[in-house]
Amino acid sequence: MNLNIDVKQPEERYSVMTLEGEVDAFTAPKLKEELLPLTEAENALVEVDLGGVNYMDSTGLGTFISALKSTKEHGSRMRLVQMEDRVYRLFKITGLTEIMEIDTSVRGGM
């Protein structure tokens, strides 16, 4: 019932955030606090690896909406990768797959 957040910066303006655990109202504030600053550099690319996320609800969706807004404001990009089918389903139901960059070529949790 926790969320581990690991951030690596392989290149300047390219960060990879790897998440492991559950995103809910308890863990989402911490995620937001770590994710938003990464999106605030111009031309930055933020890749979020969701392969280890086995649970997410609307508080997680809200966090990614905040981050997406921030990318639009600062001229950066965010890409969500390795999303499990269950988590992808929530993005699909809420219509967020239409506006978020989600790499579905590799899915986690298979």
Partner: protein, 159 residues
């Protein structure tokens, strides 16, 4: 025919750290009842959304901040009630705010919250919200979905 059921009640402080605890409890009950993996995942999200709402109300209000979660375990369905005894709740406003993202909405207008009730509605078979004294969300998931009409899938409200 008498519709007998087991009742499980859990009370937790209205704090975010207890959402996962309730989620696990409900998941355990649903698992025992024989729900599929997918249905259990749906139940976990729906219950968490209802509790998250309750936690937010409790934080904005000044009441004692305790949530009551009741599970009615029937042979064919699981009924879950989430009650907060906190402040009031503008139902009309909530109804206006729910719904999926629409193509024509701009990213700037996107709500960061507000998907909660929409997800409960999408993931459960029946949802009722009562807001007389605090807010009560009553939601039902049937064990065999094919026995239930799809038209039952909507939010009904009573004040």
């Amino acid at each position: 025919m008498v519709d007998t059921f087991d009742f499980v009640e859990v009370k937790v402080p209205a704090k975010p750290e207890y959402i996962g605890v309730v989620r696990l409890s409900v998941s355990g009950i649903a698992n025992r009842m024989g729900f599929s993996y997918e249905d259990i995942e749906d139940l976990k999200v729906a219950v968490s959304e209802a509790i998250t709402n309750g936690v937010e109300h409790a934080y904005s209000g000044e009441e004692d901040g305790e949530l009551t979660i009741g599970c009615g375990v029937y042979t064919d369905r699981l009924e879950i009630m989430v009650a907060d005894h906190g402040g009031s709740f503008n139902l009309e406003q909530v109804k206006e705010e729910i719904g999926p993202y629409q193509q024509e909405d701009s990213v700037e207008d996107l709500r960061e919250g507000g998907f909660g009730l929409f997800l409960i509605d999408a993931l459960m078979d029946k949802v009722e919200i009562k807001s007389e004294h605090g807010v009560i969300v009553l939601m039902t998931k049937y064990l065999h979905e094919n026995e239930v009409g799809r038209d039952g899938d909507q939010v009904s409200t009573s004040q």
